[in-house]
């Protein structure tokens, strides 16, 4: 193993490990405040998630959306942009996919209908991503604030359209799509019966691989990372920083938008108000813990999905809200330890002054 690779690996792995330790200790305290035994509760948490097919299916289902939103946030960060808008990009993607699925003929074969719906989801998300990109490049408006504000605007707009135009009476969701549904895993593997896991997980993994190739093996990805590290130097080197930022926000939005297929095409077959349910914000946590690397994002998405599903498994003993506290603790601990670990490691590696 080359020493540079090892240095990168250490810088990437230490913060999440520190965070896990801190979270375990906080978890212990919370569990004991409820008069329960931490060992029992943690065992239940693992058994309810990785210990049986249904629980594992739910973990896969929850991880799928998080892989998309985590990749979305990571790609933007690699270009030096903080996309806090994955939540509304996800919702818009699911919404447009549902619209297209509603408009297609039920006789259309999946091989045609599914790609059309995927494209629709990506376009829906990329439109919402393009707005902050354009406002940043054209007017210098900071993307963090614009994406936060746009979340509220887009979600309110979608709620209005669904409530006023196309909802099924007495519900907050659209009618079921007529074509473009993605098969559930339990139709191949009966053990997954009842869980929402579906083949979107494969599309998520393919997207992760594609993001890896794009970022680390293509010229455009190299330019994007150069802009993320040193925008002035990249501009001087002949790269159009504005163009790259625009591209990054469109791609980031498209990936978050694709996440909408997991719920809309794979699980419920309709768009429902509020289906994103914070998965866009959790995507920031996934990107952070996954150190903005596609492989790290997949692992971090599984981790956060395990926590979220694990909350349900322990609910009889400790309120499931415990895992929400732990999510917050993990994010804080990773955010705090990243600069600290980097400094400590660099200090330790420095050759002793002669």
């Amino acid at each position: 193993m080359s020493s540079r690779f090892r240095e990168h690996l250490e810088e990437a792995l230490f913060p999440p490990l520190v965070a896990l330790l801190v979270a375990l200790i906080c978890g212990d305290l919370l569990i004991m405040s409820y008069g329960q035994s931490p060992a029992t509760v943690y065992r239940l948490l693992l058994e309810g998630t990785w210990g049986n097919a249904y629980g594992f299916g739910q973990v896969l289902y929850k991880a799928t959306t998080l892989i998309f939103t985590g990749l979305s946030v990571s790609l933007a960060i690699r270009a030096g942009l903080f996309n806090v808008g994955a939540e509304s990009q996800l919702a818009a993607g699911g919404f447009v996919a549902a619209l297209v699925g509603l408009g297609l003929s039920p006789s259309m074969p999946g091989i045609l209908a599914i790609p059309l719906c995927l494209l629709a989801a990506a376009i829906g998300g990329s439109i919402v991503g393009a707005i902050p990109g354009w406002l940043k490049v054209k007017y210098g408006a900071h993307e963090v604030i614009v994406t936060i504000m746009l979340n509220f605007v887009v979600l309110a707009l979608l709620n209005y359209i669904v409530a006023a135009k196309i909802h099924v009476p007495e519900t907050l969701h659209t009618p079921e799509i007529r074509a473009g549904g993605i098969a559930r895993l339990d139709s191949f593997i009966p053990a997954f019966h009842g869980s929402a896991a579906n083949l979107s997980i494969l599309i998520a993994l393919v997207t992760a691989a594609a993001v890896w190739v794009y970022l680390f093996k293509s010229k455009r990805g190299f330019e994007m990372r150069a802009v993320g590290l040193q925008p002035e130097a990249a501009e001087y080197g002949g790269v159009s920083v504005g163009g790259i930022w625009m591209r990054a926000m469109i791609l980031s939005g498209a990936i978050a938008g694709l996440g909408g297929i997991n719920y809309v095409l794979g699980y419920k077959q309709y768009y429902e108000e509020g289906f994103a349910g914070g998965a866009g914000f959790l995507g920031i946590a996934v990107a952070l813990v996954g150190r903005n690397h596609p492989l790290g994002v997949v692992l971090a998405a599984l981790f956060f999905a395990t926590l979220s599903q694990g909350g349900l498994a322990i609910h009889a003993f400790v309120p499931k809200q415990m895992v929400e506290v732990l999510q917050g603790v993990v994010i804080l601990a990773v955010a705090m330890s990243v600069p600290e670990v980097r400094r400590a490691l660099r200090q330790a590696r420095k050759p002793v002054a002669a």
Binding site: F82, F152, A156
Partner: protein, 289 residues
């Protein structure tokens, strides 16, 4: 529509925004990005409810509420100043943490996943339209007071110096980190008062009762260009739009979702510089070395 009702309702709706936006202004003027106002408000509301529930005194609740905001403010301060964590991430983490912590302890203390029992409040004589509540008056005075502190006192000068030119401030002997710690702690306590007002006004804590008000306050800070009084005017403007929507309800004049968008759309437009550019403090988000 009665203009008197309109005015009093606008003010009552604006009070939580006024507290939280003032908290946002002081921390951001000291250079710390503050997206955690929502979390401060929520923890303030919950801690206040606990305080009133166990002592029966709304005044003790006021103090415990401020303390709740202080705790989360100090988490933000330690993470962003001592550990130089990304301030946007810290803000988002604090909001998640506040939701989780209040839900967990709501279950632990009151065995409920939705709301606390009824607690005593301040004021409440209906003939006064809410103006017999001392917290309401505090809310109206907080922005002018903060404006005075920021522009007329040595401490305020230091806060502004730290947020604009931390290196220059440090070279003049100002303790940059100390000023930032104080500003962020004040920010947590001020925003928490917004939550305290909500909880005492509704006589209970309900899950996620701040419902995005912290983000409206963030919008007001930016729309008010990081100035306490202009941010307060933005709060009143946003509250007036809400009041209009409530009073026109059933009228189907404008769908409520479009009224909800107003603060956020105005802020985006302000950021894009269509009507006068919103320029943040120069060192906002850059942790001092």
């Amino acid at each position: 529509m009665n203009p008197f009702d309109f005015l009093t309702q606008t003010i009552r709706i604006a009070i939580p925004y006024l507290f939280a936006a003032s908290g946002g202004v002081i921390a951001e003027r000291a250079g710390i990005i503050t997206l955690s106002l929502e979390g401060y408000m929520l923890s303030g509301a919950f801690a206040a409810t606990l305080g009133v529930h166990y002592t029966g005194s709304p005044w003790i609740g006021l103090l415990t509420g401020i303390f709740g905001g202080l705790v989360f403010g100090l988490i933000q301060a330690v993470a962003s100043i001592r550990y130089r964590a990304n301030q946007v991430v810290v803000g988002i983490a604090i909001n998640l943490l506040a939701i989780g912590v209040t839900r967990f302890f709501l279950k632990l203390a009151f065995d409920s996943s939705s709301n606390s029992p009824r607690v005593a409040g301040l004021g409440g004589n209906s003939a006064w339209y809410g103006f017999d509540n001392p917290l309401l008056w505090m809310g109206l005075l907080v922005a002018p007071a903060l404006g005075f502190i920021l522009y007329k006192t040595p401490f305020g000068l230091r806060v502004r110096a730290v947020g604009e030119h931390p290196d220059a401030a440090a070279s003049l002997g100002i303790k940059v980190s100390l000023i930032q710690y104080i500003s962020v702690a004040l920010s947590g306590m001020l925003a928490a008062l917004g939550g305290v007002f909500l909880a005492l006004d509704q006589h209970q804590f309900t899950d996620q009762m701040t419902a995005g008000r912290g983000f409206i306050a963030v919008a007001a800070v930016i729309f008010g260009r990081w100035d306490p009084v202009r941010a307060a005017l933005a709060c009143l403007l946003f509250a007036a739009a809400e009041t209009l929507q409530i009073q026109l309800q059933g009228n189907q004049f404008i769908p409520s979702q479009f009224v909800e968008m107003i603060p956020y759309l105005l802020t985006i437009i302000a950021l894009a510089g269509v009507v006068g550019r919103a320029v943040p403090p120069a060192a906002l988000g850059k942790a001092a070395e």
